[in-house]
């Protein structure tokens, strides 16, 4: 009851100073910046699409350290296994085609066609980065009907508005992502001379054509388009109040993707409309000529969640400090990124002249 009575007042002060002195060194142990030991990890950025062949972009992270260059190393020695629930297993090799090289990720691919309503599991092993695993389910097939298009102008921007009805697969929660891309096409010019096809876009072919072009009968120069694996993003606009885009707070009103959940509209036939900005529909640049793909995708939950916060990240990037950005939630065990599945319904349009 009278502990402090036995301590003289000078001792009380000394006691307090000792207590304070004991506590202060703990404060000094705080590091101004963490000394956590960090290491790089495997990165998987995959959207398995039903009806398409297997293409799995794989990369690695880069540690943030002062004076570290902002670039990504390649992962070309990984062993990639893909497996479905029926027990089929594929070893996916590295695709060394030029169109897949030079990027931040290496593409592992094969010609196996992916099936809807199927679960796939991936295992990526790298001698340096360890083993990463993930699985996803490609949703079942669905269709869209009652497609109608309309040219409109909104805020001085020309748009092509798509009205359509999603025939939602019942009894499951489905996650829809709508996006529009322009698939860049390579123009292939050729001519047929004496039953032999020559490539006009080579010096020899061009020289030959210049020599024979005036012969009779005239030799026509033929043009063909070949789709590449390069795409151009087309921005979208939606006024659908059920779209999750209302949570994204885009100050421009434009989005890269439109997000819809069947649990929100709760109707087997859901009609909505999405407008595509037509700015890049037609291009004079050969590198931007191509076909317009308007895609309605039913995607796996984890892909939906990842892309939704990825969209938010892209909107906030440059406005928020890096520490305030919403990070996309991945599903890669012992790695970063996303391994998701989708079934897509595609409408294709050509606007460019070749």
């Amino acid at each position: 009851m009278h502990i402090l009575h036995t301590i003289s007042r000078n001792k009380q002060i000394i006691f307090l100073l000792i207590v304070t002195g004991l506590l202060l060194p703990a404060a000094c142990k705080k590091n101004p910046y963490s000394t956590h030991k960090l290491s790089n990890t495997l990165v998987v950025l995959t959207e398995l699409t039903a009806g398409d062949s297997v293409k799995i972009p794989i990369g690695k992270s880069t540690l943030i350290e002062n004076n570290n260059t902002v670039s990504f190393g390649t992962v070309n020695n990984a062993i990639v296994h893909l497996q479905d629930t029926l027990g089929h297993s594929w070893l996916i090799p590295l695709n060394t085609a030029p169109e897949f090289s030079g990027g931040a990720t290496s593409v592992y691919s094969n010609s196996q066609i992916l099936q809807p309503n199927t679960t796939y599991t991936i295992e990526v092993s790298d001698p340096e980065l360890g083993t990463a695993k993930a699985s996803t389910h490609i949703p079942p097939a669905f269709v869209i009907t009652e497609v109608d298009t309309l040219r409109e102008i909104y805020n001085d921007q020309e748009m092509l508005t798509f009205h359509f009805t999603i025939n939602d697969v019942p009894d499951t929660d489905n996650y829809y992502i709508i996006e529009a891309l322009k698939q860049v096409t390579k123009i292939y010019r050729h001519f047929i001379y004496r039953n032999v096809t020559y490539n006009y876009d080579t010096p020899d072919g061009q020289a030959l054509y210049n020599r024979i072009k005036n012969e009779q009968p005239p030799v026509p120069l033929l043009t063909d388009t070949i789709p590449t694996n390069n795409f151009i993003r087309l921005n979208l606009l939606t006024f659908d109040p059920n779209a999750d885009n209302t949570l994204l707070n885009s100050t421009t009103g434009l989005f890269r993707r439109v997000f819809l959940q069947s649990s929100v509209f709760n109707n087997p036939l859901y009609s909505t409309s999405v407008s595509v900005i037509t700015k890049n529909f037609i291009s004079d640049s050969p590198q931007m000529k191509g076909k317009v793909l308007f895609m309605v995708k039913s995607v796996s939950r984890e892909l939906y969640d990842y892309l939704f916060l990825y969209e938010k990240y892209k909107i906030d990037f440059g406005t928020f400090p890096s520490s305030q950005l919403s990070l996309p939630p991945g599903n890669i065990t012992n790695g970063l990124g996303i391994f998701g599945g989708s079934f897509r319904y595609v409408l294709t349009y050509y606007f460019d002249t070749f």
Partner: protein, 867 residues
């Protein structure tokens, strides 16, 4: 009388307080006894011989042959007598130039059982100005019966019929003793004169049971360490709270102060009972309360009396002066930061008084000298009129308006911030009778806030800014309430406090505009929606002295809340108890449940206090907290006071400082944009103070842990609160060689803040699919940041040293001058550290550390004239 009887039956009889003595000029004289050991009779006789002071006593009441040893430290008559008589049941009365030793009466229950009891009641006021004094003590020394004045200076004390001697004291004022004879309930208003208080004679200074754990700071106490109040020459009495344990003052670029791990919005600030939503100038550095109008403040952070609600972490209850009822007086101040003036005086003597204060910043030239990037202006005007309708009724009309405009130009961004408060209140004090008091008030509080954030976007190849974008956001909040509170004290050992409040609050979030430049005209914003809500409050509490060692104060605060179709009832039990271990030491404990319906969400990326208030809804539930604390205090006669307190607090439905949050309320989805989570904090607080000769030293230390947990953040794992400062230490020293001269210094040290920074990047998803966006101005930034945990890093520790001196001279009977000089932030240390990450695709990472401070090493000088 019947009520008293029932009360006595229901609750235990009030026992007499311990021995206390009366102070006076004789007792404060210096005295050193040459005799170090002797009988009480010998020591008293030696005292009479050496001092020439007559001491009368009846030897039957004293053990005159008891031998007493002195320590040699007795320097005054009061301390000498205290040591000689500490074992005797006598007290000392000073009367007619003599000291009289009189026996202590037996406990009141024994002697007064058949005597009629009457109440002496009234107000304790400052001599001359008639300014009511808050928490002044009125006590009968012989029985120990006593009470405190309430926040309006009112007291009531029940005593047996007959003659009584009452002792009235208040910190910073000369103690006064009066004699009364009670034959009926008696109204007595008592005046105290400002002056040097005399040390108490008996070790009773710490013996009065704590009625609450709140720290009460009046104008005199707030100025004990001037360096702690001075902000570049502007004296802000509210800043003295920052010296207390459990309180941290966050960096100057944020909003003010935080209490026990709570967010800034969890501190409710009441100015004369009216809620103020942002009570600061200069981004929290300076309070809106002008020193010249400040009277007193109570900071509740351990216990919350039942009448309070709405602030989870603290209640700042600040009172301003009513105005001088006797004569006109004024004060003018000129400093580096602002110029201010205040006048007060009677419109009708002893009937109607007014108080008017005005302050305007001079920061445009002065602050630019200190930091050329910073431009801030503010002003405030305060007007108060007090009118005594009659001796039982008083009306007070209070009007305040203040405004801030701040612009900050940085290399990569510009900020504009404009905010202001408009307050009005009408208060009615009414004495219902000898033992009951009522206060009714109507309050209006309006706050508006405009924040703009401007930033450039750079061309990838040339690093030339190609777009300058500005986010502009504006919001306002209007609050109206009517409240009434009753205090009934049927007997000295019990008090009933009860009352109610009806409040209506309207929040108006406006559209967020994106433009090339700042939008300062509020008419250019469109109202998105209105968010009105209502609150109905009832409260009740008892303050019960079980005996002279134990006080308890159980209570409950009930609240009904309505926002659209969302209704919420909150029952908030409160409890406080204090227990006296002996005349020097006390234990106290508190338990509180609190509910808060207003949430403050912010856009932290904007770097300034971009506060947006939102109400509780079905999705964004009311914030609730449960807190407990246990404290110990010691105060002895040699000027040493110690206190230690342990606390634990849990908070639910927190919203503040959401990471990545973006609450531009431009649609009806704002609720879904807000993440809610929980938090908890616990810690230990110590405070020690020592006064000796001309010195005064105070040391306050806090050891605390503060956590947050949000289901949608950090994978649901807990993470440290942004302001999780493990250690906070304040050391304050004041030296007063003369009454008109003081020198003081304050050193503050605290651990650094927690912060988040990405650890790694990985390739962009669209990039992986070979998708490019030609319209994206940031197309080159093709990577995703990743961090494994929130707030896992800590900045380096903070410290700041302030020093200053005050010197006062009188040049006339009513005119005095005060010169203050000093240096704010002597070491030029940072008040916030910001770690930022910059990168470009062709470049390299750069983790930059910026040291922000509103004021660098800032010498100041200010002049005050009081007339």
């Amino acid at each position: 009388m019947k009520n008293i009887g029932i009360t006595v039956l229901l609750f235990l009889t009030l026992l007499a307080m311990p021995v206390k003595g009366q102070q006076g000029p004789l007792l404060s004289r210096s005295y050193h006894s040459k005799l170090k050991k002797g009988t009480i009779r010998e020591l008293l006789q030696t005292f009479i011989d050496e001092s020439g002071i007559v001491v009368e006593y009846i030897s039957n009441f004293l053990e005159t042959d008891r031998v007493v040893s002195l320590t040699g430290n007795e320097t005054t008559v009061s301390v000498f007598l205290q040591h000689v008589l500490q074992t005797q049941r006598v007290t000392v009365l000073e009367k007619n130039g003599k000291l009289i030793l009189v026996p202590i009466k037996p406990p009141a229950g024994d002697q007064d059982a058949f005597a009629s009891t009457y109440a002496i009641f009234g107000f304790i006021k400052e001599e001359g100005s008639k300014e009511p004094l808050i928490n002044a003590t009125i006590q009968e020394p012989l029985t120990g019966k006593g009470t405190l004045t309430n926040t309006f200076g009112y007291f009531t004390l029940s005593l047996p019929a007959g003659p009584h001697t009452l002792r009235i004291s208040y910190v910073g004022y000369a103690t006064r003793t009066i004699g009364i004879t009670l034959n009926e309930n008696s109204r007595t208003d008592i005046s105290l004169s400002p002056g040097t208080p005399v040390p108490e004679i008996v070790v009773a200074s710490g013996s009065r049971l704590k009625k609450y754990a709140a720290k009460n700071i009046n104008a005199e106490q707030a100025n004990q360490y001037p360096a702690g109040n001075e902000l570049v020459g502007e004296n802000d009495p509210i800043r003295s709270r920052n010296l207390l344990p459990g309180v941290i003052s966050v960096q100057d670029y944020a909003d003010g102060f935080l209490v026990r791990g709570g967010s800034p919005d969890q501190n409710q600030f009441l100015l004369d009972g009216n809620e103020v939503f942002n009570p600061t100038h200069l981004l929290g550095s300076l309070s809106i309360v002008n020193k010249t109008s400040f009277k007193s403040m109570l900071l509740h952070k351990s216990d919350f009396p039942s009448r309070f609600g709405g602030g989870l972490s603290s209640i700042m209850d600040v009172y301003t002066k009513d105005g001088n009822m006797e004569q006109w007086q004024g004060e003018a101040n000129l400093g580096f930061l602002a110029a201010s003036a205040a006048v007060e005086g009677p419109v009708r003597k002893n009937k109607t008084a007014v108080m008017f204060s005005f302050r305007r910043s001079l920061t445009t030239p002065a602050v630019r000298l200190l930091d050329e990037k910073f431009n801030a202006r503010f002003y405030d005007v305060h007007f108060k009129i007090t009118h005594l309708l009659n001796e039982n009724n008083k009306l007070m009309l209070n009007v305040y308006t203040g405004h801030d405009r701040m612009k900050l130009q940085q290399s990569n961004s510009n900020n504009l911030q404009k905010w202001g408060n408009k307050l009005g209140s009408l208060n009615w004090n009414h004495l219902l009778g000898a033992r009951s008091f009522m206060n009714t008030a109507f309050n209006v509080s309006h706050y508006n806030n405009l924040a703009g954030y401007q930033y450039p976007l750079y061309d990838d190849s040339s690093d030339v800014p190609v777009i300058i974008s500005t986010f502009n956001t504006y919001s306002s909040i209007s609050h109206y309430d009517v409240k009434t509170q009753f205090e009934v004290q049927p007997a000295n050992n019990i008090r009933f406090n009860f009352g109610g409040k009806i409040a209506y609050t309207m929040i108006k979030p406006f559209s967020t505009n994106l433009s090339d430049g700042f939008i300062e005209n509020v008419d250019d914003y469109n109202l998105v929606m209105t968010l009105p809500f209502k609150e109905y409050t009832l409260y009740y509490e008892n303050e019960i002295n079980i005996d002279n060692r134990l006080l308890i104060r159980p209570g409950v605060h009930f609240n009904h809340y309505r926002f659209r179709n969302f209704h919420f009832n909150s029952i908030q039990p409160r409890f406080f108890a204090s227990y006296k271990l002996d005349d020097r030491q006390q234990l106290y404990a508190a338990y509180n449940k609190m509910t808060q319906y207003l949430h403050m969400v912010s856009n932290p990326f904007m770097g300034v206090n971009n506060m947006i208030w939102v109400p509780s809804t079905r999705l964004v539930k009311p914030e609730e907290s449960t807190s407990m604390s246990l404290g110990y205090s010691l105060r002895n006669t040699t000027g040493v006071s110690l206190s230690a307190e342990a606390y634990w607090k849990k908070m639910n439905n927190l919203t503040s400082y959401i990471e990545g949050g973006n609450i531009f309320s431009n649609d009806n989805t704002w609720e879904q944009s807000i993440l809610t989570g929980k938090g908890w904090s616990y810690g230990l607080e110590f405070q020690a103070e020592k006064k000796f000769l001309h010195w005064q030293i105070m040391c306050a230390y806090t050891l605390s842990w503060n956590w947050r947990q949000f289901n949608n953040l950090n994978n649901g794992r807990r993470f440290p609160f942004k302001y999780d400062r493990r250690h906070v230490l304040n050391i304050t020293v004041a030296y007063k060689p003369r009454n008109n001269w003081s020198v003081s210094a304050v050193w503050n040290f605290s651990s650094g803040d927690a912060f988040t920074l990405p650890e790694k990047i990985y390739p962009d998803f669209d990039n992986g699919q070979h998708i490019v966006d030609p319209g994206d101005p940031l197309a080159a930034y093709r990577f995703i940041y990743h961090y494994s945990a929130l707030n896992q890093f800590h900045t380096r520790p903070y410290q700041r040293l302030d020093a200053g001196t005050d010197y006062a001279v009188h040049t006339g009977k009513k005119v005095s001058h005060k010169l203050s000089a000093g240096v704010y932030n002597v070491l030029g240390t940072a008040s916030s550290y910001n770690y930022d990450l910059q990168a470009s695709l062709d470049g390299k990472f750069n983790i930059s550390l910026s040291r922000n401070r509103l004021f660098n090493i800032s010498p100041y000088i200010s002049y005050t004239i009081i007339f």
